[in-house]
Symmetry: C2
Subunit: 326 residues, 2 copies
């Protein structure tokens, strides 16, 4: 069984590759676990991983010939993580449309014409919710994206939904919470500060908090997200039914909760490295995001969030020893 | 003021042209009415209308160069009606995507790069609702399209929404009820029987009713739809706010109600021309459609449906004297 991962050089892609290589097996669409014979890691740049089972390919996800060449008959499962993140999609409208919408469509077309119907995990986002939202977003809340990223992700979900209904693919879209603590350098995501105020102070660096400490967000750790990706692609198709769009479980945390966790792991010195610099532009944007969910359907399907924010920080510290305690 | 109409050769396009030529003026985005100096009627074929103020252009809506050439600086308003209808979009998946999604995007791109921000009316459909719906669909009900047509219309709405938010166009999407009584020959719309059982018997022809007489649908007359198009494009932008998607008012009618109206206008002889031939495939499809709406937001914005089904039939008979009473 060969697995294609788009966005493989991104940090979730790299963690997913780690996990698949170390597990050595994968459960797909309710079948018995099968060995991971090979992984094709596709991105615009070559990822850092090296392994005999891994083939790194660089290219443009919106180019049909490139993507068709990736999707040969031996590819039985696809994790579609490639995306231009929120801040970048807002700043570069054309790039966002090309990667987030065209890229998804090009991939779906290639899979449709591949012969055997493959199983596809599409990494969507809670950015499909925004604006005038109820106190708690539940499974019946209408997505009303307030940014190009959310619009493009939702349009991509609709395509996955229809390609699945038509029997071209067996697609599953999961709306991922804000991923915290994201390792490495800050990226173009507008939500980056939620990771930054943990990651940077633990590394001895200064971090800016551009929103009030009372600001709440809906978050999940990278490990929980990878677990949920694997759960999503492993469920029998019947567990999804006609509705291929799903709000994932997460945790509602305030930035104050994050700061308190930082104090427990890094002490007062770490907390002192957070500079409070309210930025009205970012605050206005963050206020349109959903922070409280009732993800009942996902819970019923067996998806699980992190138990609490301290375990998120603990997992980050364990997984990134070199990035902590300088 | 020049006006572009896509789908101009379709029956709503032709009625809209009639109306604009006879009104001679149009109100756009809350401004004072301006004269209709010219209409560009675009479709894949040349429409039947001839008038010195009308230029008919035939071409492919998904071809960027064609559409860019249409949208010159003198075009101040666009009615985007071009679409592959539901039955056809389901039967020819690629054609549906190309016309309904790519066509909308190509038009939006051309308008974005035109210079001055034009006002755009996008004719969407209640086909964005389907499947496991509440008894009454209201303004908060999540669209869950169950066919490619509804998926493509909803994805098009999302693009119009985002192009409007970005300030590229001033877009307004209206979800049109099933249009009854549609004149002329049957088209590829799966809902065609709702017009057929009035139109054909009144013309002395046989019509097939493939669903039970208890089946309900959400309908509006062509005249009411044209009125609502003009109202939608005439409202000030502030009346729309950030939310550019709207469920239009209509009437809930059962096929039995239609048959009773037919009896009043065409007598028993007309009713006897309806052949009841339940078709399980069509019934399954129609059961996924929304038939009852609470279009509160649209009512508050001044949109109005037909008063009752008899006035719909009366308007049809008056507007199509040649098609009745043979």
């Amino acid at each position: 069984m060969k697995i294609l991962i788009t966005g493989a050089a991104g940090f979730l892609g790299q963690q997913l590759i780690d996990r698949l290589l170390s597990d050595g097996v994968i459960r797909l669409a309710g079948a018995e676990p099968v060995p991971v014979d090979g992984i094709v890691g596709f991105d615009q740049v070559i990822g850092a991983h090296r392994d005999p089972r891994l083939t790194n390919v660089a290219g443009d996800i919106s180019d049909a010939a490139t993507v068709e060449a990736l999707v040969d008959a031996s590819v039985g499962a696809v994790f579609h993580l490639a995306a231009v993140v929120s801040g970048t999609a807002e700043a570069d409208f054309d790039l966002g449309l090309r990667v987030n919408l065209d890229g998804t469509r090009v991939l779906l077309e290639a899979l449709r014409h591949r012969g055997e119907r493959p199983v596809l995990l599409f990494s969507s986002s809670i950015a499909v919710f925004g604006g005038d939202l109820p106190e708690v977003v539940d499974d019946r809340t209408t997505p009303t994206p307030q940014g190009s990223y959310g619009i493009q992700k939702l349009a991509g979900e609709l395509l996955v939904q229809d390609y699945s209904r038509k029997g071209f693919v067996d697609g599953r879209c999961v709306r991922v919470p804000t991923v915290v603590v994201r390792p490495g350098a800050p990226n173009g995501a507008a939500s980056g500060f939620a990771s930054g105020i943990i990651r940077e102070p633990l590394a001895g660096l200064e971090a800016v908090l551009p929103v009030s400490a009372q600001t709440e967000m809906w978050v999940a750790s990278p490990r929980a997200v990878i677990d949920m990706f694997l759960h999503a692609i492993g469920l029998p198709e019947a567990a999804w039914g006609w509705n291929r769009m799903l709000n994932l479980p997460g945790l509602t945390v305030s930035m104050q909760t994050e700061i308190e966790a930082l104090r427990r792991f890094g002490g007062e010195a770490a907390v002192a490295r957070i500079r409070h610099e309210p930025d009205e532009r970012i605050m206005r944007l963050v206020r349109t995001w959903a922070a409280r969910f009732d993800p009942r359907r996902a819970i019923g399907m067996g998806f699980r969030a992190d138990p609490d924010f301290d375990s998120i920080v603990k997992a980050y510290v364990e997984a990134n020893p070199g990035a902590v305690g300088r």
